[in-house]
């Protein structure tokens, strides 16, 4: 067991974990942060995307011990005081989700896309979301949501 100290959604945690524990399993099983999900085992689908020190990371491909000392934000940490994050609002308003399984990762990655490029073109949004798979929406409304969030300059 190895001791890790990780700040997740604004709360500092310190836990003993097996060295092989993936960050996503630490989040889900140790902290109950089940908003972040596992969709594959090859880093293709992006459903587990979180922010690691402010940048998007697929938490299935990071060991918890690698995140020691890091500041992690999950989908559960986006809304503040019951107020949805503008990107969450944009996904809702533009019907950018159906089953919603990819949505946490998709929203976290969308924020990263806009962090890199606050006024992207649609093609740039599509390229930026390439590592996140959705099987329900055909992506059209996801792209629309990200564009909407970018236009307002809110994200």
């Amino acid at each position: 067991m190895t001791r890790v100290s990780i700040k997740v959604d604004g709360v500092a945690y310190s836990d003993d974990v097996e060295p092989r524990t993936l960050l996503v399993h630490y989040l889900r099983e140790h902290l109950g942060k089940t908003g972040t999900v596992v969709g594959c085992d090859t880093t293709n689908c992006g459903a587990c995307t979180v922010h690691l020190d402010g940048k998007s990371a697929k938490s299935c491909t990071v060991l918890a011990v690698q995140a020691d000392g890091a500041d992690v934000t999950t989908i559960e940490g986006l809304a503040t005081n019951g107020q949805l994050h503008p990107m969450q609002e944009a996904f809702h308003e533009n019907h950018a989700l159906q089953c919603g399984f990819c949505t946490p990762g998709m929203i976290m990655q969308s924020l990263d896309v806009l962090r890199d490029n606050p006024s992207p073109t649609e093609d740039e949004v599509r390229d930026g979301l390439e590592g996140n798979l959705c099987r329900c929406t055909g992506y059209q409304n996801i792209v629309k949501a990200v564009m909407a969030a970018s236009k307002g300059g809110t994200a």
């Binding site: 908003g35 293709n44 996904f91 308003e93 989700l97 949505t103 949004v125 929406t137 059209q140």
Partner: protein, 827 residues
């Protein structure tokens, strides 16, 4: 109270943002894999790496010693309870099917089949121990080629004595719905024979399947990532012998399914049985690799087609001879999938004679079953490809040949040659709208211009004017097709004393937006605010009756049950309202959520009435203190959505790369409850249908190993692969239900595949190419162009489908490429 006095617009028809979104965008979801119960144990499966072998021995000793392992369970250990997984659709009385144990006992019949189950304290410890189970196999010959398997050779299941599970026939002459197809073909000027391949696909829902079973307490509770909790409950009870009333199945939030979770899986049964054995809650969650390997696959047919027509292009006959690969077993509706397509090959066209036959074949591959569209995409693909061929033969535009043959809007209701009564439709209107949005004539002009100057990038236009049968299904029809259940749906409405309304539905949504759409329907029907309606579903204890969600049935059947229940609430409330208003019931009208005494200002809202009923202080004599109501709706007919889909694809003739430039579709799904949700369904459906045309294929190697066992190899499209679709609608209400609705869940998938492939073929037809096997990868397109350019065009290719090996319909199959891909098969 909750009655809205002056709601400005009806809810039905408005683009309400979805109720279910909030929990999904904040991570407040209840996926099955989230569940943690006290003392919960974790399962991992030991799976066969071989496609066909005798299981000589299973040595679990080392695994049992592994840290954290509580038990290791083999097929022999649960032989007394595991039974055989169900097939609910024996399509013929003599259908052959092997026993299907959840944990193999004597043989394994596809790579990935379970041979043992590890039970451990953590998921990681369970997975660690998988490697320690020593299974000795005795390899058997592997059967992979369905065409060869259909006529003999090695057997997938030697005990059956054949690889053929069933042969099913529909013949319009025998059914009295049309003429004799052989005579029609013999008498026709034009006879077009083609063989098309429907490649094997994987549903690839985003949430891997997961099951948790809590055996503590009097009733066993199962949570499962399923789209069919009611069917699952019944089938597990029947299979294991557990009393149906001792099992509660809950489908919590379910992350997509597309038919892929319309199943009773070995893993669900094993988790149930093992949890009961060890007496502790157990969880099994598959990895994505396991999901792709063993979650049921879809499609996988060889379609041998003959279409005949007069010289002017009027269709005279259609003969469809299918081979359908079942894989190793018959799942819940595996055998019925081709039959669902049987009624749709004739599509919107007035064929006077039609014959459909399919041969269901076993191979040593994962079993196939329902995948979005289930039978209808295959049928639509075949007929829409053939109509293009007919247009070429006659020398007219493909839209013209369709219009010449389709049912005119004034001809509805129309009984098709397959015996279905199409209640309504307007193919002219949808096509005209699509054509204009698409800029059809300008694109045709550009195509000609590029062709004339020999442009490296050629343009092709693809058309698909489709219909489908959806709203599965009238129970009588299902009975006539030997399906094991009915097609009704159930709903209950509970009028709470606070004025809130609970709607219980037997539909089991998993991304469709039922909570929103049902709320809209009930808000209008009962005149209550949208936000006051709570939709409950997916739990057999809360929703005891239901037949779940598949086949674009939820709104047309489940939504109608909700309407019927709401109408019963009003009916039950009326005498009570009359009593409270001291009026005659005949003098009351129910408008905007209130009972009014006609011609007076005396009224009572339904919410106030619900409170009065709850108190029950002042009810008419002999009236029960409840206005709650149940209803079960069984449709009398299917509904028949249709539409016109147009695709413009650019093909780089030097690289074979296909780039879709424009995709326009106009769907007619009748009345629309929520346009936003409808549009989303179409987008997602298109993406899956287009993916079949261009990218996706489940590939096995010569040993029967799935080589597309991860998202690295199985190419689910990303945002970067796709583009924006132009989506619009026409509205011809269905007359088969009071809402006037049709289904939309599968339309995009059904229509889009042939539109794209027609576009690709159209772009390169001048090379002499009339088919490119799906998925139309750059390699395949490039190869087709190379062969054609070297004078070795596809029409003269020797097919891998040995004509002499075919069980029937022995004719030239002149356009099929060898069944192999660039990534998979050996030379």
């Amino acid at each position: 109270m909750t009655v809205t006095e002056d709601r400005p617009t009806p809810e039905v028809g408005s683009s309400r943002r979805r109720k279910e979104d909030h929990r999904l965008i904040t991570g407040r979801t209840r996926w099955t894999d989230n569940l943690q119960l006290p003392g919960m144990l974790h399962l991992a499966m030991v799976r066969s790496p071989l496609a066909h072998a005798k299981v000589v021995s299973v040595d679990t000793a080392a695994a049992k010693e592994s840290p954290g392992v509580v038990a290791v369970v083999t097929g022999a250990d649960i032989a007394d309870v595991q039974g055989s997984l169900p097939n609910a659709w024996p399509i013929t009385p003599d259908q052959k099917a092997p026993p299907h144990p959840s944990i193999a006992t004597e043989t394994v019949n596809f790579a990935g089949e379970i041979v043992a189950c590890i039970v451990a304290r953590t998921a990681r410890e369970a997975k660690d121990a998988v490697e320690l189970v020593d299974v000795e196999y005795d390899e058997l010959p592997v059967v992979l080629d369905m065409a060869a398997a259909a006529v003999g050779g090695d057997l997938t299941h030697p005990d059956l004595g054949t690889n053929v599970s069933a042969h099913w026939v529909f013949d319009s002459a025998e059914a009295g719905t049309g003429g004799d197809v052989k005579a029609a073909i013999a008498d026709s000027d034009i006879v077009i024979k083609r063989t098309y391949r429907q490649q094997r696909l994987i549903p690839a829902f985003m949430e891997p399947r997961s099951t948790v079973v809590d055996p503590t307490g009097e009733q066993v509770t199962m949570w499962s990532a399923t789209q069919v909790p009611h069917i699952l409950k019944l089938m597990l009870a029947l299979t294991t012998g557990l009393s149906e009333s001792k099992l509660r199945v809950i489908a919590p939030d379910v992350g997509g399914a597309f038919g892929g979770k319309l199943q009773v899986t070995p893993e669900e049964l094993i988790t149930l049985v093992v949890a009961q054995r060890v007496g502790k809650p157990c969880k099994y969650t598959e990895t994505r690799s396991e999901s792709l390997l063993t979650g049921h696959h879809g499609r996988d047919q060889i379609q041998r087609l003959t279409l005949s027509a007069t010289a002017d292009g009027t269709v005279t006959g259609l003969h469809v001879d299918l081979l359908a690969d079942m894989g190793a077993y018959l799942g819940l509706v595996t055998s019925g999938v081709p039959v669902l397509g049987a009624f749709m090959f004739n599509s919107i066209y007035k064929f006077p004679a039609y014959r459909f036959e399919c041969t269901n074949v076993f191979t040593n591959k994962n079993w196939t079953d329902a995948y979005r569209g289930a039978g209808r995409p295959e049928a639509t693909y075949a007929i829409e490809r053939l109509m293009d061929e007919l247009a070429v033969e006659v020398g007219v535009d493909p839209l013209e040949i369709r219009e010449k043959n389709w049912i005119k809007h004034e001809e509805f209701p129309f009984t098709s040659v397959a015996g279905l009564e199409y209640d309504s439709g307007n193919y002219e209107a949808a096509t005209a709208k699509a054509k204009e949005m698409f800029g059809y004539d300008a694109l045709r002009a550009e195509q000609k211009e590029r062709r004339d100057r020999g442009d490296r990038v050629q343009l092709g236009l693809g058309i698909s004017t489709f219909t489908e049968m959806c709203g599965l299904a009238p129970s009588r029809v299902l009975g006539s097709l030997s399906y094991g259940a009915g097609g009704w749906e159930h709903a209950s409405i509970r009028m709470l004393p606070s004025g809130k309304v609970e709607v219980v539905t037997g539909s089991s949504g998993h991304g469709q937006g039922h909570e929103t759409a049902w709320s809209q329907i009930v808000a209008d029907r009962l005149g209550v605010p949208f936000d006051d309606v709570e939709v409950l579903h997916g739990d057999t204890q809360i929703s005891p009756r239901g037949l779940d969600t598949y086949g674009s049935r939820s709104l047309t059947v489940g939504g109608m049950a909700v309407v019927a229940a709401a109408d019963k609430v009003i009916e039950k409330a009326k005498p009570i309202a009359a009593h409270l208003l001291e009026a005659n019931a005949d003098d009351l009208e129910f408008v905007g959520g209130k009972f009014n005494v006609k011609g007076t200002d005396s009224s009572i809202g339904i919410g106030d009435l619900a409170l009065a009923v709850f108190a029950a202080h002042n009810l008419p004599d002999g009236v029960e203190p409840s206005i709650d109501a149940d209803a079960t709706f069984d449709p009398e007919n299917f509904s028949f959505p249709h539409g016109t889909h147009l695709c413009a694809a650019e093909v780089d003739t030097e690289t074979g790369e296909v780039k879709v430039r424009k995709y326009t579709c106009v769907d007619d799904i009748g009345k629309v409850v929520n346009p936003l949700i409808v549009e989303g369904q179409v987008h997602g459906g298109l993406a899956q249908g287009i993916a079949q045309a261009l990218w996706e294929e489940a590939v096995y190697d010569e040993y029967g190993t799935l080589v597309t066992g991860s998202f690295v190899d199985y190419l689910v499209p990303s945002a970067a692969d796709l583009w924006n679709f132009e989506v619009d609608r026409t509205e011809t209400p269905s007359t088969t239900n009071a809402l006037g609705v049709k289904g939309v869940g599968e339309a995009g998938t059904i229509a889009s595949t042939p539109a794209v492939v027609n576009a690709v073929v159209d772009a390169v037809r001048h090379f002499g190419i009339n088919d490119i096997e799906m998925p139309c990868s750059p390699f395949r397109v490039w190869t087709a162009i190379q062969k054609a350019s070297s004078g070795d065009a596809t029409p003269t290719d020797k097919s891998v489908v040995d004509d002499n090996a075919l069980p029937s319909h022995n004719q030239t199959t002149d356009n099929i490429d060898p069944v192999q891909t660039e990534g998979g098969s050996p030379a």
